[in-house]
C-alpha cells in the first residue's frame, strides 16, 4: 500500500490527482498532495486547472482556444425562462378591451355633442357628432361597442349621421308616437355599419329616456358556451340560461339606472327571493337577482313589469346583434340528447316573440335586430324571409317579384319564417359622397388622415371602398397609415 503513496510524493502537487484514497489510507502524505491552490501559476493550463468554476475539465491536458463546435444547440437553449405567463383570462381581456379615446389624437373643435333629437333630424345628415359622456357609459355598460371598431383612434367617440340612421330614428319616433312597436331587421353587406346602426339607435334611445335591453352577441346564447337548465312546468320544455341572464340583468341595471329608479312595479312578486311589493322601483327588482339561480325569475318579473298593460312605462328598445345565430338550431342538447331549437331557449324566445309582434309595449318602442356577415351560420329561412320582406317593401306588395322557396330544398325552418313574417327590413349599403366627405374631414381634423380632403381624395377612397362601404373606407384611408 505504501508504494503508490511514495511515488505520488514525487509528483508535482496538483489538484487533479485523486486524493480520496490517500486521505483514508495514509494521512501522513496528505499535506503535500492536498495543496490545491497555488498562489500563482506560470502556465495557462495550470491556471485553468485551479479555477474552481471549471468542472471536470482538469483531467485533459490540452484546452482548445477560440471557437468550438456546439452540437445540439436547440436543446441547450430551451431552459431559458420566459417570464411569468399571463393569468387566466388576461389574454382574453386584452383581446376584448375597448378603448374609447386616444389622447394623441387632435381634439376636433367643431365637434358637437349629440342631443336628444339630433339623430332624428334631417339637417344633421352627413355630420359627425360626438357621444356625450353619460351615453358613452350607458353604451359601454350594455356592450354596444365592439373591439373591432375604430374607437381607439380618436379623442372622443363620435358618429356619422347617415341618411339611413335618420330614417330609422324617425321610424322609431313615429312608432312611439303611435304607441306601437317598430319591428325591424338591419341587414346589409360586410362592414356596412349594421352594428353601428344599432349603436346609433341605442344612443338615440338613451338620450330620449327609453329603457334599452341589448343582447350584444346572438352567438353567446346558442353556441352552448353558457349554462342552461330546463324551466319547470313548461310545455314544450323551455330552457333558461341563468348565468347569462344574470350578466344581462346587471348590464340593464347599469345602463338604465336612472329610468329604472323612476319606474315602479304595478303588481307584487312574492315568488322572488326578495318579496317585491307593488310600487317598488324596478331598480330594486333588478337588484333582487344576486345569484344565477334567481336570475331568470327576476328577469321574467322585470319583463312582465315592462310589458304590463295600462302601466306608465317609458318606451322600450330591445335589440340583438347577430340575428342568424338565434335563427337556427342551437348547439345545446336536451336530456334526451336531441338538439334544442334556439327558439326553445327562453331568452331567445322572448326576443323572437317580440320581433314577431306578439308583445305589446304600453308606451311603444322598438325591437331591432342586426344580421352579421362575418360570423354567421347559414340560415336559409332567414335569408329568404328577409329577401321576401325587402321585395315586398320596395315593390309595393307585388307578389311577382317576391323570391319564393326552393321546392327541392329541405333546410327551411317554419319557426324562423313565422317570426320574420311581418318585420321591416332596413338594408344598408355604401354612404353617399357627401357623407364620406364629412367623415374624412373628421378623420383629417383628428390627425388620423394625413391628406388634403378634396374632391379627388374623397372620390378615390369612396371608389376604393366599393362605393362608400364604411368599413372599407376605414381600411383604405385610416388603417393603412403611410405617415
Amino acid at each position: 500500500m505504501s508504494a503508490p503513496n511514495c511515488l505520488r510524493g514525487l509528483v508535482r502537487p496538483s489538484a487533479t490527482i485523486p486524493i480520496s484514497a490517500p486521505r483514508t489510507a495514509a494521512p501522513r502524505v496528505a499535506p503535500i498532495a492536498l495543496v490545491r491552490s497555488a498562489p500563482f501559476s506560470t502556465t495557462a493550463i495550470n491556471a485553468r486547472r485551479q479555477d474552481p468554476n471549471q468542472q471536470g475539465g482538469g483531467g485533459k491536458g490540452h484546452v482548445r482556444q477560440g471557437k468550438k463546435l456546439k452540437l445540439g444547440k436547440f436543446k441547450k437553449n430551451a431552459v431559458e425562462s420566459k417570464g411569468k405567463p399571463p393569468l387566466p383570462g388576461e389574454r382574453k381581456a386584452y383581446r376584448k378591451r375597448i378603448t374609447l379615446s386616444n389622447d394623441n389624437a387632435i381634439p376636433v373643435p367643431w365637434l358637437k355633442d349629440l342631443d336628444a333629437d339630433d339623430l332624428a333630424s334631417a339637417k344633421n345628415i352627413a355630420r359627425v357628432l360626438a357621444l356625450p359622456e353619460e351615453v358613452q357609459d350607458q353604451l359601454r355598460a350594455s356592450e354596444a361597442f365592439k373591439p373591432t371598431q375604430c374607437w381607439g383612434m380618436f379623442r372622443k367617440p363620435s358618429l356619422l349621421v347617415r341618411k339611413e340612421s335618420v330614417d330609422l330614428m324617425n321610424r322609431m319616433q313615429a312608432s312611439v308616437d303611435r304607441k306601437q312597436t317598430l319591428r325591424l331587421v338591419v341587414t346589409g353587406d360586410k362592414v356596412t355599419g349594421k352594428s353601428m346602426m344599432l349603436l346609433q339607435a341605442m344612443a338615440h334611445a338613451f338620450l330620449n329616456n327609453w329603457i334599452v335591453i341589448h343582447v350584444p352577441e346572438g352567438q353567446e346564447l346558442t353556441t352552448a358556451c353558457t349554462e342552461y337548465a330546463p324551466i319547470p312546468n313548461t310545455e314544450p320544455v323551455q330552457y333558461m340560461q341563468p348565468v347569462y341572464v344574470l350578466k344581462l340583468l346587471q348590464a340593464i341595471k347599469r345602463a338604465n339606472e336612472k329610468i329604472l329608479a323612476k319606474t315602479y312595479t304595478v303588481s307584487g312578486h312574492p315568488e322572488l327571493p326578495q318579496n317585491i311589493t307593488p310600487n317598488t322601483p324596478l331598480l330594486a327588482l333588478c337588484n333582487a337577482a344576486k345569484e344565477p339561480d334567481s336570475a331568470w325569475p327576476v328577469f321574467q318579473a322585470l319583463w312582465n313589469e315592462l310589458t304590463a298593460q295600462g302601466a306608465n312605462r317609458p318606451p322600450i328598445l330591445l335589440s340583438l346583434d347577430g340575428l342568424a345565430h338565434v335563427m337556427r338550431v342551437s348547439d345545446y342538447r336536451s336530456p334526451a340528447f336531441e338538439l334544442i331549437h334556439s327558439h326553445d331557449l327562453a331568452l331567445v324566445r322572448l326576443f323572437t316573440d317580440a320581433l314577431g309582434g306578439a308583445v305589446h309595449f304600453s308606451a311603444g318602442g322598438a325591437v331591432l335586430a342586426a344580421t352579421s356577415r362575418n360570423n354567421a351560420p347559414r340560415s336559409p329561412s332567414m335569408e329568404l324571409s328577409l329577401a321576401q320582406r325587402e321585395a315586398e317593401q320596395t315593390a309595393g306588395k307585388e307578389a311577382a317579384e317576391v323570391p319564393q322557396k326552393d321546392p327541392f330544398f329541405r333546410g327551411y325552418d317554419d319557426r324562423v319564417e313565422a317570426v320574420l313574417r311581418s318585420v321591416q327590413v332596413l338594408r344598408l349599403g355604401g354612404v353617399s359622397k357627401l357623407e364620406a366627405r364629412a367623415l374624412m374631414e373628421y378623420w383629417a381634423a383628428s390627425g388620423m388622415l394625413r391628406a388634403t380632403v378634396d374632391e379627388k381624395t374623397v372620390t378615390e377612397k369612396w371608389t376604393l371602398a366599393g362605393s362608400g362601404v364604411l368599413g372599407e373606407m376605414e381600411r383604405a384611408a385610416l388603417l393603412t397609415m403611410r405617415i
Partner: protein, 119 residues
C-alpha cells in the same frame, strides 16, 4: 379540488375531460351524460353545483367503467386463449393479432397484447 366517483379533479378541468378520464368512457358517452344533466360542453368542474356532482357520481357508479370494463376485456382475451384460438395464442405471445407483419414495429402489440391486459 372536487371529487367525482372517488377521483379528485381540479376545479378548472372541463367536465367533459374529467368524465373521459375514466376507462371505457369516451366522447359519445360523456356527451350523453352531459346532456342528461344539462351541463353545457364547455363547463368547468368548479361551476357544477354539489347536487349535480353527486348525481354524476351516482350515474358513473351504475356504469361498467374502470375495473369492470378492464375485467371484461381480460375475460374476453382469456376465453380466446382457453379455446386455443390463433388470436388467443397471439395475445399470449404479445404479438400482433390481426395479421400485421412482425418484421419491424410491434410496439403496440408488445404493450397491449397479453393475457392480463392492463389498459
Amino acid at each position: 379540488m372536487v371529487f367525482i366517483f372517488g377521483v379528485n379533479f381540479h376545479e378548472q378541468k372541463l367536465v367533459k375531460k374529467a368524465l373521459e378520464s375514466f376507462y371505457a368512457l369516451g366522447p359519445q358517452t360523456s356527451a350523453r351524460i352531459l346532456a342528461k344533466y344539462c351541463i353545457h360542453p364547455r363547463a368547468k368542474i368548479g361551476t357544477l353545483p354539489p347536487k349535480t356532482l353527486t348525481a354524476l357520481t351516482a350515474e358513473l357508479s351504475t356504469m361498467t367503467i374502470e375495473g369492470d370494463a378492464r375485467r371484461i376485456i381480460q375475460e374476453n382475451i382469456k376465453r380466446l386463449r382457453d379455446m386455443g384460438t390463433y388470436r388467443g395464442r397471439r395475445h399470449a405471445m404479445g404479438l400482433p393479432v390481426r395479421g400485421q407483419r412482425t418484421k419491424n414495429q410491434t410496439e403496440t402489440a408488445r404493450k397491449l397484447n397479453r393475457i392480463e391486459r392492463r389498459g
